[in-house]
C-alpha cells in the first residue's frame, strides 16, 4: 500500500516537471533567451531633454540677524538665487540689506554720531560656490523630510558708510525639503572684510544667521 502511494506521487511529480519544462522550452526561443542575458549595442535615439521639465534653479528670500562688529546685531533681509550644477555642486547669489545701530562709543560719549542715518544703511551681495555635504533625511515628529546640509564659500561686496568693501564669506546651512520644489533653509554665514572707519584699518568678522524659503523652478 505504502509503495503504491510512493509510486503514485513519483509518477505525478515526474510527469508534471517534464511537461512544464517542455512547454517552457517551446515558449522561449534561444535567441530571445540570449537577448535577455546579453544586452546588444543598441543604437539610441537622440532625445531633446528640454522637453522634460527641469528644476535646477532655486529662488527665495530670507530674514535673520546680522551681527555687525561695533554696530550691534541687526535685522537682515535678503533674496537668494541658486543654480544646481550637479547633485553635489551649486552656485548661489545673495543680496541682503540691514540697518546698523549706534556703536557703544556713540551712545556713551554723547558726542556727534560717527555715521549719518543714510550711512547706516548696509547692503551686500555675494556669489558663492556651494557643496551639498550631508544629503539625507530629517525626522520631525512622524514626518520624514529630505534634507541636505551644505557648505558655501564665496566673495562679494558690502556697501555701508558710503563705501564699498570687498567681502569674503563662508558658512553652512540646512536645506529642508517640504516637497520636491519647496525648501526651508537655515543658514549661518561669516562675512569677513576690512574697514578704516575708526582710523586704522581693521579686519572685522560679521556673523549672520537667517531662515529662508526657496522654490525650485
Amino acid at each position: 500500500m505504502e509503495s503504491w502511494i510512493r509510486r503514485f506521487i513519483l509518477i505525478a511529480l515526474i510527469n508534471g516537471t517534464t511537461l512544464s519544462a517542455a512547454s517552457f522550452a517551446q515558449g522561449t526561443d534561444e535567441g530571445q533567451l540570449l537577448n535577455d542575458v546579453v544586452q546588444p549595442d543598441i543604437t539610441r535615439r537622440e532625445m531633446d531633454e528640454g522637453l522634460i521639465d527641469s528644476e535646477d534653479f532655486e529662488f527665495g528670500f530670507y530674514a535673520g540677524v546680522l551681527s555687525f562688529e561695533d554696530f550691534g546685531s541687526n535685522d537682515v533681509y535678503g533674496i537668494r538665487l541658486a543654480y544646481h550644477v550637479t547633485e553635489d555642486w551649486f552656485v548661489e547669489a545673495n543680496y541682503g540689506f540691514s540697518k546698523l545701530q549706534h556703536t557703544s562709543y556713540e551712545v556713551l560719549s554723547g558726542s556727534a554720531p560717527l555715521l549719518s542715518d543714510d550711512q547706516r544703511n548696509l547692503s551686500y551681495y555675494n556669489l558663492n560656490l556651494g557643496y551639498n555635504l550631508l544629503p539625507g533625511e530629517v525626522y520631525i515628529g512622524k514626518r520624514a523630510f529630505n534634507s541636505s546640509f551644505y557648505i558655501i564659500i564665496g566673495a562679494g561686496n558690502t556697501l555701508f558708510a558710503d563705501n564699498d568693501y570687498f567681502t569674503y564669506n563662508f558658512g553652512g546651512g540646512l536645506r529642508l525639503f517640504i516637497n520636491d520644489w519647496i525648501a526651508v533653509h537655515w543658514d549661518v554665514r561669516n562675512h569677513i572684510m576690512a574697514h578704516a572707519l575708526f582710523g586704522e584699518e581693521k579686519e572685522i568678522q560679521n556673523l549672520e544667521t537667517h531662515m529662508g524659503l526657496t522654490l525650485f523652478f
Binding site: 511537461l19 527641469s54 551639498n132 525650485f216
Partner: protein, 257 residues
Amino acid sequence: MSFRLTSFGTGLLVLLMCFGINAKAEPLPAHWQNSEQILTVTAPYIDLRLFAGRGYPIFHIIEKGEKLYLLKRHNEWFKVETTNGKVGWVNRREMNNTKNEQDIALDFSNNGWRDKHKNRFEIGLTAGSLEGAIAFSPFITYHLTANISTELAYTQAYGNFSTLKIGAISLTHQPFPKWRVSPYFRLGSGIIQTQPNTILVQSEDREDPILTVGGGIMLNVSHRLMLRMEYDSHTIMTTRDVNEEVSEWKAGFGVLF
C-alpha cells in the same frame, strides 16, 4: 491514472499562464496621458530613490518589463512614477535601461564636456588683481555661435584710495571651440567709475569710457562647468591729456545653462 494527472498539470499551467498574461495587460493609470513620457524598464531592475541624489535611500525597485512615467528632472536625476503609484528618483545612467512605447531606447546619457554647446547661457565669477587691487567680476555670457559669444560683466576693484567699478560689454572669439582647453580673445568697451574712499579724501566721482583688449584660456570641466584664466589690458579714456592704461589678471568659473 497518470494521463489524468498530466492533463490536470497542463490545465494548471494554462491557468497560470493566463494569470501571467493578465498581469502584463494591466491598465495604465488614468493620468498617464502623454505616451512619450511612458517608458519600460529593460534592465533586470532599476533603483528608485527618495530624492535626487545618491545620498538619499533606495526605497523601491522597478523590475524588468514594468512601466514608469517620466515626470521631471532635477540635474542628473529623473522623477518617475510607477504603475502602482510609487514616486521616486532615478539616476541618468539608469534611465538608459529603458525603452519608449515604440520600443526605441532613448539616449539619456550626456557626452561630458562635449555637450557644452547645448547650453547657450553662462553665468560666473572671476576674481583677480587690477593694478594690484583686489577685483572681482560677476558676468553673464550668451554664446552666439560655437566661436563667438557676447558677455556683460560688472567689475569692482578695491584700491587703497578708491573703488573702481567697470560695466562692460564685450565680444569673445574662440578659434578652437572643440578643444577641451580652449584659448579665447576679447574685445570690449564700457564705462569705468572711480569713487575715492570718502574717509581719506573728499573728491568727486569720475566716470570715463574704457576699452579692453584681452585673452585667456578656458577649461571645459563638464558640460555645465567652465574654468577660465584671463589677462586684460584696459585703456581708460580720461578727460586729461593722456589716457591711462591698466592691466588685469583674473581667474574664475562659469556655469552653463
